[in-house]
Amino acid sequence: MFKYMNPKRFYHAVGRKKFWEFILLAVFIIFFYGPLLNMLLLAFSNSYEYPHVFAQAWGTKWWAYVFQQKSLVSSIAQSFIIAIATTAISMLFCIPAAYSIARFKYPGRKGFMLSFLLTNAFPKLGIYTSIAVLFYKYGLMGTYAGVIIIHMINSMMFMVWLPASAFRSVHRQQEEAARDVGAGPVRTFFKVTFPMALPGIAVATLYTFLGSMEEAQGTMLVGLGKIQTMPVAMYGIVLDSSAVQIGAVFAILLIIPSAVMIFAMRRYIGPEAISGGFKMK
């Protein structure tokens, strides 16, 4: 085994092509997963003095500290309330729009489709400040409604484009077959079309929910500090944190919802599914 520790030996043992592939894998893992792994270790480091590479003492001291902070715990609740509301409301508006664009032919269809690009074609912060000016006028600053609107804007393009391409991939003949045996249009939709388009809709929903969970800049701007979701609280922690571990614990709390959702929906997630949300076909 030890002969592999010598790079030269390793090179000759596995061959040139394999050697470079291992290098690629190592660089890839270190760059993309190294920081996350280091943060995970930090979260369980009771003591992490310079210049030690690893903690001198391990434990869950900082987890206990974070859960004692009332404001941090309430920010977790606020995050979930807003994310669930955002997802439900944008489904209510966007899924019908997606179905209409995918299934009906009418003048202006491409224009409607294109209009949803507006939400993603411009710098977010520019849109947020533009809205905030109006929110001041209509008293929506610092309210849940205002924050939910901001979060919805973020995800509307996905929420229309992804399900639209999913609906389009359901064959018309299958719907017609259901109609032929006597199912009404509503029943056909819920028993045939919707289940078949479910993977696309699931990915869009996942994106909306996770996007809302991690949205920070707009919430900070429009929430005026009255609405503190986890990411907004995290800004404060990162910028004036006394111990690097607090931020690490909080960041991991923030990752957990993503990790759980992705694990639950791993069947649906692939490059083809996600990239569909960025293209108009």
Binding site: P51, H52, P123, V133, L210, E214, Q217
Partner: protein, 281 residues
């Protein structure tokens, strides 16, 4: 009423609510910002001063050039690396390629702030890299924090997986059979790449590049947490104008400047997308 007319009403009824939301929450605020940007703060009269401020004040002009520099370097590096990685994933069937293929999508779902924080724990002056150096008696000062290079490293972390995903989806649509056919009639690797793979994937490359460009022009979280004080990224400059100086006319002008910077790539994006696919698999 005829069936076709009825269907049209249903179609419009389904798409209009979502469309109106986009108009009210994105289009209307943008138009409002454009009007605001030409108004004097006190008198409300027409003026170009709000724009002149950003192009004549040396610090503000520096911010614009700095942002363009960071964004263009990010786009160039991210796209080149992503293209190579996507090619590797598409045409290499080794176990390592499979591992990377499974792992590269996950960073996409890590909340932006957590990723930035994780990177900070590595690259700050008392971060992991410096501590590893100290263990060998070295003092490695990376100088990445509060510097353009740090922002670019972080942007690459975010955008390489995204661009790889978009390009991989495009490359995945190229069937093996046509490549084998070309190889059978004697085309070399480079010839196959130049004559088939490159033209067939160029559309996805353009889409990926425009999205990377657009999302970085207005980036906020990364520069907010790791950027320096001067020069600033435009996202931060806008946030300061709006939140610190409460100058809504100037922030409207800066939003419009950012919109225009993005409009260039939005046009490219729409043109690429609306072109009918010339080649069908």
């Amino acid at each position: 009423m005829s069936k076709a007319a009825k269907q049209k009403i249903v179609a419009y009824a389904m798409v209009l609510p979502a469309f109106l939301i986009v108009m009210l929450t994105v289009a209307y605020p943008i138009v409002n910002s454009i009007i605001l940007s030409f108004k004097d703060e006190k008198t409300g009269k027409f003026t170009l001063d709000n724009y002149a401020y950003f192009f004549t004040t040396p610090n503000q002009l520096k911010n614009i050039l700095y942002t363009l520099f960071v964004v263009l370097v990010t786009v160039a590096l991210a796209i080149v690396i992503a293209y190579l990685l996507a090619l590797y994933l598409r045409f290499n069937h080794s176990r390592i390629a499979k591992w990377i293929g499974n792992l590269y999508l996950l960073p996409r779902f890590v909340p932006a702030m957590c990723a930035v924080y994780a990177m900070i724990t590595i690259i700050r002056d008392s971060g992991l890299i410096n501590r590893v150096g100290a263990a060998f008696g070295q003092d490695w000062k990376l100088g990445l924090m509060y510097h353009a290079s740090g922002l670019i490293v972080m942007n690459l972390w975010f955008n390489i997986p995204f661009a790889t995903m978009m390009i991989a989806a495009g490359l995945g649509a190229i069937p093996d059979s046509i490549i084998e056919a070309a190889r059978d009639v004697g085309a070399g690797r480079m010839k196959v790449f130049r004559a088939m793979i490159l033209p067939l994937s160029v559309k996805d490359v353009v889409i990926a590049a425009t999205f990377v460009y657009m999302s970085n022009v207005g980036s906020f979280t990364t520069p907010y947490l790791m950027g320096g004080n001067a020069p600033k990224m435009l996202g931060i400059a806008l946030f300061d104008q709006f939140n610190k100086y409460l100058d809504y006319n100037r922030s409207a002008a800066l939003s419009v400047i950012m919109f225009l910077l993005c409009a260039v790539s939005a046009v490219v994006y729409i043109r690429t997308n609306l072109k009918d696919r010339e080649w069908e698999a």
